[in-house]
């Protein structure tokens, strides 16, 4: 009987952890968000090439569709997706511009997917991922569909930022991590 009780405690405690909806409560605060701008530090690790690329910059998202991803370290570049238009700037020079439909989903698919995270779209996340609490304010999101861009995504909720750390584990084994700070949010009236 003691064993059954012990087992129940373990099972219930683990179930409680996996069904932890802290992230939902946390993100709920931002449900009326209109735009977000945050500084980031990015690290791209490619184990097969033994390479780590480090950069920093800002991410800006303005509902419903504008995403600006600016790398300010080294020579600054900016990548924007505005509705159907994809643009790349080198410094202030527009280097290329084309329709999203011409680029092909395979190339911009991961970035479009990432947009769902940056705008903290709860429906999008719940539809596509199973969530597990793996630490304090730390959550692992595993895709429901195996044929997706990422093997898993780990998110650490910030105290003052919606997300303080985002780690994307690609199916190839490559890893991309962002640390966000100084998030500035505007809200819909």
């Amino acid at each position: 009987m003691k064993w059954i009780l012990f087992l129940s405690i373990i099972l219930f405690s683990s179930a409680a952890r996996s069904q932890d909806n802290t992230w939902l409560t946390h993100w709920d605060k931002y449900s009326k968000m209109k735009s977000i701008r945050a500084k980031f530090k990015q690290e791209k690790f490619l184990p097969s090439m033994d390479l780590t690329l480090s950069s920093k910059g800002t991410l800006y998202f303005n509902k419903p569709d504008l995403l600006e991803w600016t790398v300010t370290s080294g020579k600054p570049i900016k990548f924007t997706i505005d509705k159907d238009k994809v643009t790349l700037f080198e410094g202030k020079t527009k280097k290329s511009e084309m329709s999203l439909s011409k680029v092909g989903k395979a190339m911009v698919g991961p970035i479009l997917h990432l947009r769902g995270w940056i705008k903290m779209d709860v429906d999008f996340v719940q539809k596509n991922y199973d969530v597990k609490n793996i630490g304090k304010r730390l959550f692992r999101f595993t895709p429901k569909d195996e044929n997706t861009f990422f093997k898993k995504i780990e998110i650490k909720l910030g105290l003052s930022d919606p997300i303080s750390k985002l780690i994307l584990f690609e199916t190839s084994g490559d890893r991309l991590s962002f640390e966000f700070e100084e998030s500035k949010i505007t809200y819909e009236r």
């Binding site: 690329l53 370290s73 020579k75 439909s101 011409k102 092909g104 861009f149 690609e170 991309l176």
Partner: protein
């Protein structure tokens, strides 16, 4: 008995060994060696391995796309949902050649640009991004964007990539260009592709499709011809049985044997036999049967074989003159026909003594001077020749289904490439290639050639040396860049001596076995004129074909005249009477006149095959002219030949009709055109031989 078995066995061996020796492709058969060489050279470049697939909507195109990408053994690349991986080989080759293609930047420019590229690499994610990342490691100065720009320049006309599929604004249809790993002659592979796309509503157009569609249609038509011929043969047999002269059927045996032996000899001499040559077999059977029926129904064998002999040599005269044609297919047809007709004559003569047919004919055609009025058809026909629109283009040889025609028109209209000009050079003749490139460079004519991608040799050397010099400053490059762009710096370190011999992969489609091709695509008539005036010997496939048809027409006219002169002298030698000679050639002129008169009235196409058909009528009709002329000349001799000969001739005429009438029900133009001309020709031969010639001879006799 043993000999007979051996003979039968030999026939079957010959027959079955022939099956895989039958060729249906035009390659090596339709064109003179010079044109064949140009076409083969053009086909040897892998530009010919591109075909187009047209789908009614996006859904079907997407389904087809995944199926095409699974057919890796057949499809090298398909422009649908394009992936970097499909182009990475060419891009990599471009990047590894960049030390020849551009001047090296200064070390500070290299550092600056590499930092931009480094930052761009941080955006790359997913399998596509990873592939691009690998390429980017060879590319610290963004050379690949120059390659994309060159490749994309006006490549697909009005077509634009939408969601990874090529579409035209306002149309539901989707275009998928595909590069195939095999040649058009490997039709079983094309067939697999067609079976894959057809259920999805897809239509294939291009050289591979053309090969397959033509072969399939010829096979289908030959089945129709075979079935109809069998039906008509049964009808003939029933008619002969009803008349009590079934024995006459024996005349088909020498003709059939001759066709088989002739096919065997043709294979031995030419290596293979073309399906169209075999189609001529029915004509040979018809002609061979003529001699047999003519002889069997004649009471005077001696006289009739003399007549047959002149029929044979006048027919052979046409065949032998055409044997000198520059077109391999005509040479093969004439070789096959000459052997066939000669053997048929000899074998029929050999067996004729063993078969006696005593049949008193009730068929008789009486002459009347009124029939001579019909000779006006000859005059009207000759006038009609000048009003006839000869469609001598090679397109009549190319069978196109209606749905394929519609898809083809849509694709080429939207590709906006009005005409495709090309010039093939010796690879060593770089100066000419470069000069031709430069002369039209400013005119903005859409072009593909090696100098679109490569600078001149001098510039290549200058670029090469500039990169070599840059190596001395590499210590200034930041460590991060050195690590990320390590593959680039490794390539740079390997630069040793200038070598331009190897053709990089990105221009491999323009080089083949020591030959280089340059292509220009005119968008309007002005550009067309400009290309022709600027590039010496620039050709279009259309022009080659046009030259070919005009050459072949000249050739046929000359050879036709020579054959006519031959026949005239042979006949004059025999008759020593100009009216008898005219009487012999009347059926031909009447048939030709009738054909052109009917063409003028009904406007059917007169193609290259119609002209070939006229030559066949030429050989056949003179036989009938000789037979009927002789029957009139010798009717008062020891045996009254007239009526008996007429019966034999009507039967042989019917047997010829059996051979050719079914061809008019074919869908393939070349068979249909041949069928129409010969059917009309035979009708003319019938009327002229049995009504006009006797009237003409009677008129001359009375005169």
């Amino acid at each position: 008995m043993k000999d007979r078995k051996l003979l039968i066995a030999l026939f079957f061996i010959l027959l079955f060994s022939s099956c895989n020796k039958i060729e249906s492709s035009p390659k090596g058969y339709f064109f003179p060696s010079k044109i064949e060489k140009t076409i083969s050279e053009l086909e040897s470049f892998n530009i010919g391995s591109w075909n187009y697939l047209v789908f009614p909507d996006v859904d079907s195109a997407l389904k087809a796309c995944s199926k095409l990408k699974a057919l890796k053994d057949l499809v090298v690349s398909a422009v649908c949902l394009p992936k970097i991986q499909e182009y990475s080989g060419k891009v990599e080759s471009w990047l590894k050649s960049q030390f020849y293609l551009f001047q090296a930047p200064s070390i500070s420019e290299l550092i600056n640009q590499s930092e931009y590229e480094l930052n761009k690499m941080s955006y790359l994610m997913g399998s596509e991004g990873r592939e691009l990342f690998k390429l980017s490691r060879l590319d610290p100065v963004d050379s690949k964007s120059r390659y994309w720009k060159l490749v994309r320049s006006n490549q697909f006309g009005n077509f634009e990539l939408q969601e990874g599929l090529l579409r035209v604004m306002g149309s539901e249809k989707v275009l998928i260009p595909i590069e195939l790993s095999f040649t058009g002659s490997e039709m079983e592979k094309t067939s697999i592709l067609v079976k894959t796309i057809n259920p999805l509503g897809g239509v294939m157009i291009g050289a591979h499709q053309s090969h397959l569609e033509n072969k399939s249609q010829i096979q289908l038509d030959l089945k129709t011809v075979t079935l109809m011929t069998i039906a008509l043969v049964i009808l003939l047999i029933l008619m002969l049985i009803k008349l009590g002269i079934a024995k006459a059927l024996i005349v088909f045996i020498p003709a059939l044997i001759s066709c088989l032996i002739s096919a065997g000899i043709t294979i031995i001499v030419f290596g293979k036999i073309h399906a169209l040559t075999l189609a001529f077999g029915v004509g040979i059977i018809g002609l061979g049967v003529d001699y047999g029926l003519h002889a069997f129904f004649s009471p005077s064998k001696k006289q009739v074989w003399r007549t047959n002999f002149y029929g044979l040599i006048t027919t052979l005269a046409v065949f032998l003159v055409l044997l000198t044609s520059s077109i391999p297919l005509i040479r093969q047809m004439m070789f096959y026909s000459s052997i066939g007709i000669l053997l048929s004559f000899l074998i029929t003569k050999f067996i004729q003594n063993k078969v006696e047919i005593n049949y008193l004919s009730k068929l008789s055609f009486k002459g009347s001077k009124l029939h001579l009025l019909s000779l006006i058809v000859i005059l009207a026909g000759f006038v009609s020749i000048f009003l006839t629109n000869f469609e001598l283009g090679m397109y009549r040889f190319d069978f196109i289904k209606k749905e394929t025609e519609a898809a083809r028109s849509w694709v080429y209209t939207n590709l906006g490439k009005k005409k495709f000009f090309f010039k093939i050079y010796d690879a060593k003749d770089k100066l000419s290639i470069q000069n031709d490139y430069l002369v039209l460079k400013k005119a903005e004519v859409n072009h593909d050639g090696i100098y679109k991608y490569l600078p001149s040799r001098e510039d290549q050397l200058r670029n090469f040396n500039s990169w070599k010099s840059l190596r001395e400053d590499l210590s200034k490059i930041p460590k991060q860049s050195l690590k990320v762009f390590a593959p680039f710096f490794k390539e740079l370190s390997l630069l040793d001596s200038f070598d331009e011999k190897v053709t990089p992969k990105f221009i491999s489609h323009l080089e083949h076995e020591g030959k280089i091709i340059s292509m220009w695509f005119s968008a309007n008539p002005e550009q067309e004129k400009l290309i022709l005036s600027s590039i010496l010997n620039a050709r279009t496939v259309h022009e080659i074909m046009k030259d070919f048809t005009s050459m072949i027409m000249d050739e046929l006219l000359i050879l036709g005249l020579i054959a006519f002169v031959f026949i005239f002298f042979i006949l004059f030698y025999r008759y020593r009477n100009i009216y008898h000679v005219i009487s012999c050639v009347l059926p031909f002129f009447f048939s030709m006149g009738l054909f052109f008169l009917l063409q003028f009235i009904f406007h059917f196409e007169v193609s290259f095959m119609s002209i070939v058909g006229l030559f066949l009528i030429y050989g056949l009709s003179v036989d009938y002219g000789i037979f009927t002329t002789d029957s009139f000349i010798y009717k008062n001799d020891e045996a009254d030949l007239g009526e008996g000969i007429n019966t034999g001739l009507v039967l042989s005429w019917f047997s010829s009709l059996i051979g050719f009438l079914p061809l008019i029900f074919c869908d393939h133009n070349i068979l249909k055109d041949l069928g129409i001309v010969i059917t009309i020709g035979l009708a003319g031969v019938f009327y002229c031989s049995f009504f006009i010639v006797p009237s003409f001879m009677k008129w001359r006799e009375d005169a």
